[in-house]
């Protein structure tokens, strides 16, 4: 007997729904084993992980505001990943978005008006784009590998923000602590729903998903991106310019990351601080691939990822699950999701020896 994998013709719709459920089931089993081995009540831990965050509107809101930046950034990154453009530096682009929009907020600190927030938003997008333009330019002009440049620039962005909040942008009344002034009311995004922290960013993320879904399916640019990723040689033959796609991918993903950064500082944070993001730019890469680089898939992947973070905190609080175990559990969840994804694309068959064997 031997295992044989046969590619499916197209993806299996039934499996598309069944595999995430299977993955969650496997994760639950693995989770029970993990938690029991740590002497933690497994049922309670799983309840706090997966159910509790969805029990009240305010905690659903927490999942949503955590998912929004992940989804927004992942949609942008997915476009690049489809076109074989490896932007690993969304973290830095997010930070630059925060710096640029925060700079506007500080410049207009004495002013009020409905125009300030849109201006901050624009600055955030442009800031992210500008930071993304560097690896795009280096790649297009000098063939400098973008994995290196975008990743290294993320560190530089963090240090740049640090330089500003420890230096010129420090709150004059802030006892010399590394933080800017709190933005004024015209510069902060109020929650959309009373009693939650759900802000406009959640709606924007959803909009981004919808627009991206339409663009990729219905436009020529979307087609170019698809082809460039699937068959670079064919794309060149058809006259699609790789450089144009490099620029497009970077500016799009950088702009979205910058927007996410703006929404963080103008939303739940409300000022510039030395660190804006708990790794959204990196986590978004997983979200992008977990969602199969498809905007709708990314929507669900982002929500699941956010749920696992919020749930992990809850389990820590309620049953004393160590943070480290949360990481292990998240890792397992991701492994199972990625592993079962296999069933969407392949049929597994047992075949008897003696028949024609397929080389692995």
């Amino acid at each position: 007997m031997a295992l044989r994998f046969e590619p499916r013709k197209g993806t299996s719709r039934a499996m598309l729904i069944a595999t995430p459920l299977l993955a969650v089931l496997l994760t639950l089993v693995a989770g029970v084993i993990l938690f029991l081995s740590l002497n933690i009540e497994a049922g309670a831990a799983l309840y706090h992980f997966f159910i509790e965050p969805l029990e009240s509107l305010s905690s659903i809101g927490e999942v949503l505001i955590k998912a929004a930046p992940l989804i927004m950034i992942a949609v942008g990154l997915a476009v690049g990943f489809r076109a074989n453009v490896w932007n690993i530096g969304a973290e830095g682009q997010l930070t630059l978005g925060a710096i640029a929009s925060g700079g506007v907020a500080l410049a207009f600190w004495h002013s009020e008006g409905a125009y300030i927030l849109p201006l901050m938003m624009l600055a955030g997008i442009l800031g992210g784009m500008a930071w993304a333009a560097i690896p795009a330019f280096l790649r297009a002009r000098f063939q400098v590998n973008e994995i290196l440049s975008s990743l290294m620039l993320s560190y530089v962005a963090g240090l740049l923000l640090s330089t500003l909040v420890y230096g010129p942008w420090k709150d004059p009344e802030g006892m010399n602590f590394p933080q800017s002034r709190m933005f004024n009311d015209s510069e902060t995004i109020a929650p959309l729903i009373e009693g939650t922290r759900i802000h406009i960013g959640v709606a924007i993320a959803l909009l981004v998903v919808l627009v991206a879904a339409v663009l990729i399916e219905r436009t020529l640019v979307g087609f170019e991106i698809k082809v460039a990723g699937l068959a670079p040689a064919a794309a060149r033959l058809a006259g699609f310019r790789q450089n144009r796609l490099t620029w497009l991918s970077f500016l799009l993903s950088g702009g979205l990351a910058g927007l996410a950064g703006m929404l963080e500082v103008a939303g739940p944070i409300g000022q510039l601080v030395p660190v804006i993001t708990p790794g959204y730019g990196f986590t978004a890469i997983i979200v992008a691939f977990l969602g199969r680089l498809n905007p709708i898939g990314i929507l669900f992947a982002g929500l699941l990822m956010a749920l696992s973070y919020v749930g992990g905190e809850n389990a820590q609080i309620a049953v004393g699950l160590p943070r480290a175990a949360t990481g292990v559990f998240q890792g397992l969840l991701l492994f199972f999701l990625l592993a079962t994804d296999f069933l969407v694309r392949y049929r597994v068959r047992w075949i008897h020896r003696g028949r024609q064997e397929v080389r692995s």
Binding site: F142, V144, N145, L153, L160, F282, R323, F335, S360
Partner: protein, 309 residues
């Protein structure tokens, strides 16, 4: 700063570059076979904690190094099973491996925080180690430093001069052709991935056994990511990766020494940017020079291989 500081400073640079070099060389081999494993940080942490525990338990550094390499390879095996056998996406799996590794290492290391172990001894060659300048520079290191350099030579030779190296590169550049000629692409990639994991494990062990003999949660502190970037910096060539690791380590250390000398008063955040900027700028210079066009990643990098049936 004076000239006689150059020798001790170089020693510090070697210490900073060695863990990066191990992890980057390992990842280089992995990537040359066509696989992108972004889980370097997680594998380094696994090596760091398991190596540490092994030394703390047995007192044997040799056993610790072996355990660290095995731990890294074990993590890589998980990655390989998912990406090569189950054909899961490599980028996502690698990142998941990092999340998993950070958590797992913290979990199994929790009882070992705050315990010291003896540092990996430096090889002391009587007579030679005492020579001025050359002595400390060439003869006073621990075994891993020599091993990292030997591996650079070995890997360069392996990739360029051996049949197996050629097969490995073929799998990375043209997996379908390699398959059609009759090579076991998946088997080759498994070997590369396991080797990469073992190397990351050793890189992690260098931190927990040699550089700072201690275990502290998350002590790799992002070096796995730097190693990953260095592979691209070195345009997938061992000697250039060696250069990259020493450049990055060198600039990092240089700025610390400059701060310590007190001769420059630049905000320390700006100083800390230098190693990152230096690698970008230097790669740009290299790329715009005569090596241009030879900087491409392996053609199949990151792509899942499905044998045609």
């Amino acid at each position: 700063m004076s000239l006689d500081i150059l020798v001790p400073m170089t020693l510090t640079v070697i210490g900073a570059a060695t863990p990066l070099l191990f992890a980057a060389l390992g990842e280089l081999v992995v990537e040359r076979s066509g696989v992108l494993n972004l889980g370097v940080e997680g594998m380094m942490l696994a090596g760091a904690v398991v190596g540490f525990i092994a030394v703390a338990g047995t007192g044997s550094h040799a056993f610790g190094l072996l355990a660290a390499a095995l731990a890294g390879a074990g993590m890589a095996l998980l990655f390989g099973f998912l990406t090569l056998t189950l054909r899961a996406n490599q980028v996502a799996t690698g990142l998941a491996l990092t999340i998993f590794g950070i958590g797992l290492s913290a979990l199994i290391g929790v009882k070992h925080v705050g315990i010291p172990i003896p540092a990996l001894p430096k090889l002391d060659i009587p007579g030679l180690s005492d020579l001025p300048v050359i002595g400390p520079l060439l003869f006073g290191h621990d075994i891993l430093v020599y091993l990292s350099l030997a591996l650079t030579i070995g890997i360069a030779w392996f990739l360029a001069r051996t049949r197996q190296g050629l097969i490995l590169r073929a799998c990375g550049e043209a997996d379908l052709s390699a398959h059609s000629i009759g090579y076991h692409v998946i088997r080759v990639r498994y070997c590369a991935v396991l080797f990469g994991g073992a190397m990351s494990g050793l890189g992690g062990a260098y931190l927990s056994m040699a550089a700072t003999p201690m275990w502290i949660e998350n002590m790799v502190a992002g070096r796995g990511w730097i190693a990953l970037a260095l592979v691209a910096f070195g345009s997938w060539r061992p000697w250039r990766v060696l250069f990259g690791a020493y450049l990055f380590g060198g600039v990092t250390i240089l700025q610390l020494y400059l701060q310590g000398s007190g001769i420059l008063s630049i905000p320390s955040q700006v100083m800390s940017m230098l190693p990152y900027l230096a690698t970008i700028i230097l790669l740009t210079v290299i790329a715009s020079g005569s090596w241009r066009g030879r900087l491409d990643a392996p053609a199949c990098l990151g792509k899942t291989f499905s044998p045609p049936s």
